[in-house]
């Protein structure tokens, strides 16, 4: 059977949901004739027609605003941000309107806002960001960050079916770099469940997105030294799988929090607080964070390489922590 790329998995997920549920439609910049900047919606205009694949003007606020309106009228819109960086233009629509509708009026807003995030592709400061934490800090939203083709498909389907707004961050570095064989049946990955990518006994690495692969590479390297990493892929940041996180920490007693997002206010800080609150007596060493530094994503390739957390960073911190 053929291998499915991460980007194709997203396309398949949307496609299948559109075939099954005629309330599902896509709107965004260049999603129709062009098939999306990264070809997530390629072929959809021909298949589903211009009423369900809608090219919009360049206004993220309008895209999300229209999606919210349609959702309130009973539709299931998927709003594409050409780059996740530009989601900030729709910030008010998402955080003040979509997130609060259910609490304020009892009206659910079943929209999906999705877009490519993340660095490693020399996209510079406006095409490489990881804006997840703005939304993780907003009650009423759900935020997911898949790392595999399986999860990309399973989570986009779960997001489309969810009765509330889901922000779906794709990692553009993974689009065509990861692929796997996917089952043909209807696959749905529940929002809010982590996945243990590699079980281990010595140190838990809690991470998500493209960094899952760095953690796995580091684990492979450390295996030779007899250091056994457990790699936990969070998959969903809001809600997140506290149970799996705490179980892993209680098992290994040492923890590295790893993400591509910058440090201050990053998800690692939140996890550190939770672990300290709820599993302090299970810790056998300091909670360590590995993140990007607190700067915009640099354009210069060598600087970007410096900026992104590397396998060697994980290996070094793990060695120190193991010895602690």
């Amino acid at each position: 059977m053929a291998l499915t790329t991460y980007v194709e998995a997203i396309r398949q997920g949307i496609w299948e949901e559109m075939e099954k549920d005629e309330r599902v439609f896509v709107l965004g910049e260049d999603v129709g004739i062009y098939g999306g900047a990264f070809k997530v919606t390629a072929g959809m205009l021909e298949k589903f027609g211009e009423w369900r694949i809608i090219d919009t003007p360049i206004s993220e606020s309008a895209i999300v605003g229209a999606a919210i309106g349609a959702a309130l009228m009973g539709m299931r819109p998927i709003a594409e941000m050409q780059f996740a960086d530009f989601i900030s233009c729709a910030f008010d629509q998402i955080t003040n309107f979509a997130a609060k509708c259910r609490y304020r009026w009892g009206a659910g807003v079943p929209i999906v806002v999705r877009g490519p995030s993340g660095g490693g592709v020399h996209g510079g400061p406006f095409h490489s960001q990881n804006p997840e934490m703005y939304f993780v800090h907003t009650p009423g939203l759900k935020v997911v960050c898949p790392s595999t083709a399986y999860d990309a498909k399973g989570l986009i389907k779960a997001a489309i079916r969810d009765p509330d707004p889901v922000i779906y961050f794709e990692h553009k570095f993974l689009y065509r770099r990861v692929k796997e064989e996917l089952p043909t049946d209807d696959l749905v990955v529940p929002i809010g469940k982590a996945s243990i990518r590699r079980p281990g006994t010595d140190i838990s690495v809690l991470t998500y997105g493209a960094m899952v692969y760095n953690a796995l590479d580091a684990a492979k390297e450390l295996e030779r030294e007899g250091i056994d990493l457990e790699v936990v892929d969070l998959r969903s940041l809001l809600p997140f799988d506290k149970e799996t996180i705490l179980e892993s920490v209680k098992k290994t007693n040492k923890v590295i929090l790893l993400h591509e997002d910058t440090r201050i206010g990053g998800f690692a800080g939140e996890l550190a607080a939770i672990i300290s609150d709820e599993a302090f007596e299970y810790l056998d060493g300091p909670i360590r964070r590995i993140t990007a530094p607190d700067t915009p994503v640099p354009y210069s390739p060598p600087l970007e390489e410096f900026f992104l957390p590397k396998v060697s960073d994980i290996v070094n911190v793990a060695r120190e922590l193991y010895a602690y």
Binding site: R224, F280, E281, D284, G285, P286, E320, A323, Y324
Partner: protein
């Protein structure tokens, strides 16, 4: 003036401990800031450590020959007014198990209720180089609250101790973690042994993270038995790392050695021609630079010989950095001449002399021994015909130089007297096949035998 604590500096990224080989000052001696205070030996280098402050050596806490973890306080520099009896709060903990007993005896003595009157200021020993210091964003520095009797542990360890009714002071001085911390492993093995205080310390060596431990370690060799009189001398840090590295290399690479005989007439002549000119530049010209340059040129042609193995991947290294094995009284060190391919013969000779000299004077920095891509060793310097060297991991090949000797050789059916050398190349057959190794050596041979004079 506050007292200054002198600590064991971190002399490289993966260094966790160091051995004090010699104190250059005695208790009570006056010392200036940056004046050498003691000599250390670590996995990677030997070095003199200068004093971080001026004053009087008020206390020396670690004996010569003792191995301690990095950041352990080894001495206190005072202004000479306070009494030297003022012991710091914590006795330094030796990391080796032979020392555990002794430390255990000392520990209660060193932790009486009377704390030092004036908290000593912690200053890192300013090493001749800035050894990379681990990021300490979240790490505590100093203000750690000790457990009972000053035992450092973790929340987990304290919980396990409570659950099993273990008094942590029973483990004082037996922790195998950083700074003698009691780790999960320590407390669990203590509990497993039914709470006997002797055993956990015996596990200390197993907790060292720096050396790669293969999944299936070979069984330990049988205990040494000998009926006659013996002298037992503990290995130095350097000896231990050489031993570890050599065995690890043998286990890692599929070693094969090939031999080439090379006529040195032209390089001897070239050396004779250039010697005076080099001496004017203050550089003594030996034959080694010729071999280094020839190897560098051949490495450029056969990049696989300049590679490393990383799991299932071959890592080709662009720079050609050649390590030169230097024999010292205490062991062997391999300083690295970087970017050899970008240097001319004078540059190479200069660089070799520089690192060789600094190796002998213990002035090497961690950078000097890092990132080698190929190694040359010279067993011939004491007359050996040839050697079969062990690969310097993670490199994949090492060249050995035998002694250059005049020999009768047959050239065009006539017998001639020529200075000959036998070169050997030990290579890692995992990535280098015999044909490639021999082509590489043929290239080295060609370079040397056709040296422009």
């Amino acid at each position: 003036m506050a007292d200054t604590k002198v600590i064991m500096p971190q002399m490289g990224e993966s260094i966790f401990e160091g051995t004090i080989t010699k104190w250059l000052k005695k208790k009570g001696d006056k010392i200036q800031r940056d004046e050498p205070l003691f000599e250390i030996s670590t996995d990677k280098i030997d070095s003199e450590i200068p004093s971080p402050a001026s004053g009087v050596v008020q206390d020396i806490l670690v004996k010569e020959g003792q191995t301690v973890q990095i950041n352990t306080v080894v001495a206190v520099i005072g202004d000479g007014t306070s009494t030297p009896a003022e012991a710091p709060k914590e006795a330094p903990k030796e990391t080796r198990k032979e020392a555990a007993k002794e430390t255990a005896k000392e520990a209660p003595k060193a932790s009486p209720t009377e704390p030092p009157k004036e908290a000593p200021k912690e200053v890192k020993g300013t090493a001749p180089i800035d050894g990379p210091v681990p990021e300490t964003d979240e790490e505590e520095e100093g203000g750690e609250e000790g457990g009972p009797e000053g035992t450092r542990s973790s929340p987990l360890v304290r919980r396990i101790a409570k659950e099993h009714g273990v008094d942590l002071s029973a483990l004082a001085g037996k922790g195998t973690g950083i700074n003698g911390r009691i780790t999960k492993r320590d407390i669990l093995s203590y509990v497993e042994q039914g709470g006997t205080a002797e055993k956990p310390a015996a596990k200390a060596p197993a907790a060292r993270p720096a050396a790669p431990v293969p999944a299936a370690a070979p069984p330990p060799p049988p205990a040494m038995k000998f009926a006659g009189e013996v002298e037992r001398v503990p290995m130095t840090q350097m000896r231990k790392s050489i031993a570890e590295h050599m065995v690890m290399s043998r286990r890692t690479s599929a070693h094969v050695t090939t031999f080439f005989e090379v006529d040195c007439s032209r390089i001897m002549k070239a050396r004779e021609n250039s010697r005076a000119e080099f001496e004017r530049s203050g550089v003594k010209l030996t034959v080694t630079p010729f071999f280094v340059q020839a190897a560098a040129n051949a490495l450029k042609k056969f990049p696989i010989v300049n590679s490393s193995v990383d799991g299932d991947t071959i890592v080709y290294k662009r720079p050609v950095n050649i390590g030169i094995a230097v024999s010292l009284e205490t062991g062997l060190i391999v300083p690295v001449v970087k970017n050899v391919d970008q240097k001319n013969l004078l540059g190479i000779a200069n660089a070799i002399n520089d690192v060789g000299e600094r190796a002998r004077n213990k002035k090497l920095t961690p950078d000097d021994v890092k990132d080698g891509t190929f190694t040359i060793t010279n067993p011939g310097q004491y007359g050996a015909l040839i050697g079969t060297p062990i690969i310097n991991q993670p490199q994949v090949a090492i060249m050995g130089m035998g002694a250059i000797k005049k020999r009768a050789v047959v050239i065009d059916d006539a017998i001639a007297i020529r200075p000959m050398i036998i070169l050997s190349l030990s290579f890692d057959h995992r990535v280098i096949d015999g044909a490639v190794a021999d082509q590489f050596m043929a290239e080295v041979q060609k370079q040397l035998e056709n040296w422009p004079v």
